[in-house]
Amino acid sequence: MSNRSTYLKLLSAVIVFGAWEIAGRIPVSYAFPTFLESMSALARMTFDGTLFAAYGETLKPLVIGVAISAILGIVLGLWIGLSSVFDWMFSPIFIVMQAAPLAALIPILVMAYGIGLTSKVFVVCIMAMPVIVLNTSSAVRNTPESIKEMGRSFLASDRAVILKIILPSASPIIFSGLRLGVSAGFIGAILSELKITPTGVGDIITFSRSIADYPSMYAAIFSIILLAVVFLNLLEKLENTLFEGNNRGYASD
């Protein structure tokens, strides 16, 4: 059973990468290197350290931006979930932000904050924050009524209700909000490197495109997508082990 699914995963990888290789050999376009060319470029950049230096640069705004969004987003979301005044005041902003193409703010951020780290951190923040805030606030708002009542009937203080009931009960959804925030943050970090100033991985992509070194360009793009996907999958695994059974155990199941 699990054997079959592993084989199929392998098979599907072989099909896709094989198709890439063949398409590169025809070639479908002068700008379409083969899979093997791209992978050897990736290996070269990994072993001469280019890639690590580039990621050191790229991950900086991502990490700072996600950290700021996480702290600010959870605090705001908690507040919005607990207070109807805050909810009325702030929810619409984040709801609009969630639906809006915030990338359009980049030109103005660049004008206001220049082309340095600040702008890039800002881009990551505006991408990552809405989903963190909205997940936190809806998780807090949707804490099962009966366990809140339970807390009150056993004389919990407001503080205890928040710390011992609402927060633990909301934490799986807050965590998945963080995961989605990281995912959006990756988009922000890459976007800001491609749009604002080419640094890190964005630099490799832009530079190798300009000198028509397509294998390196494809390798850099491949690596960042791989990194994001692997990291997000690890977060999801962590989420599943951390909160196993957290959403079960009510009367209805």
Binding site: S153, F154, L155, A156, S157, I165, P168, R248, G249, A251
Partner: protein, 267 residues
């Protein structure tokens, strides 16, 4: 015809029926909807009183008002002769959907009431351990709610309510989410509990048989707006043992009688 003599006898007899909880003229409105209207009811100490009625008759609302979880629009609740203003240590609640913390072990769930009162960890766990064993869950202290069956989860809820040592236990349809056989076992255990613990039980149910089986006193509530239509006190079969109650003629008569008065209210 009430003569002065009988009235005097009545008044002197009054203190003898010692009430743990008294509901006096309670009304509850939700906007324009009258959920409860001027409802008065007394709950004798050490006995089990059922609130029975068709769905929508406000029995859970009344129970939550007694618990202090809801605020009545008018009237007051007295517990041990004192008006209440909110939840208190003298009452403990058993929830219909158990209201267990899914992320906490059985031990922590049972000890949660004491944890909220700031009782030290070792002390609250020894109290909780005793009640976990009492409800028959010894060996499951480190299990989590999702690993337990519905009946076992409600035993956890019951142990939590017992461990805070409140004099009044408020039970909101506690057995409605468990299967029929488990429910029967629960009912028998509940009878023993009423007998052995000197506590007052207020028990909400929509099952006529269940109410007659477990209660010392049954308050029948009728809906819209909710009022007490009748109070029935089964007397004859309580001492005949748990196995014989369901065959007792008085038990059967009371069940029929209640059904006769409720059937008009069932849609």
């Amino acid at each position: 015809m009430v003569t002065p003599q009988t009235r005097q006898a009545f008044e002197t007899a009054q203190p003898l029926t010692d009430n743990a909880v008294a509901v006096r003229g309670v009304s509850k409105n939700y906007g324009d909807v009258e959920a409860l209207k001027n409802l008065t009811l007394e709950f004798p100490r050490g006995q089990l009183t059922s609130l029975l009625g068709p769905s929508g008759c406000g029995k859970t609302t009344l129970l939550k008002i007694i618990a202090g979880l809801l605020e009545p629009t008018a009237g007051e609740i007295e517990v041990n002769g004192k008006a209440i203003t909110g939840p208190g240590p003298d009452r403990a609640f058993v929830f219909q959907d158990f209201a267990l913390l899914p992320w906490a072990s059985v031990m922590r769930n049972v000890a949660f009431g004491l944890e909220l009162r700031g009782v030290a960890k070792s002390e609250r766990e020894s109290v909780a351990g005793k009640y976990i064993a009492d409800v028959g869950l010894a060996g499951f202290e480190n299990s989590f709610p999702h690993e337990l069956s519905g009946g076992m989860r409600q035993r956890v809820g019951l142990a939590r309510a017992l461990s805070v040592d409140a004099q009044v236990l408020l039970m909101d349809e506690p057995f409605s989410a468990v299967d029929e056989q488990t429910r029967r076992k629960f009912q028998e255990d509940l009878l023993n509990l009423v007998q052995n613990e000197n506590k007052t039980f207020i028990f909400v149910t929509h099952s006529i048989e269940e109410a007659v089986y477990v209660s010392d006193q049954i308050a029948i509530l009728l809906p819209r707006p909710s009022r007490v239509s009748e109070i029935i006190r089964p007397s004859g079969f309580r001492d005949k043992g748990v196995d014989n109650i369901r065959r007792d003629p008085e038990y059967l008569d009371i069940v029929d009688e209640i059904w006769a008065s409720l059937r008009n209210y069932v849609e």
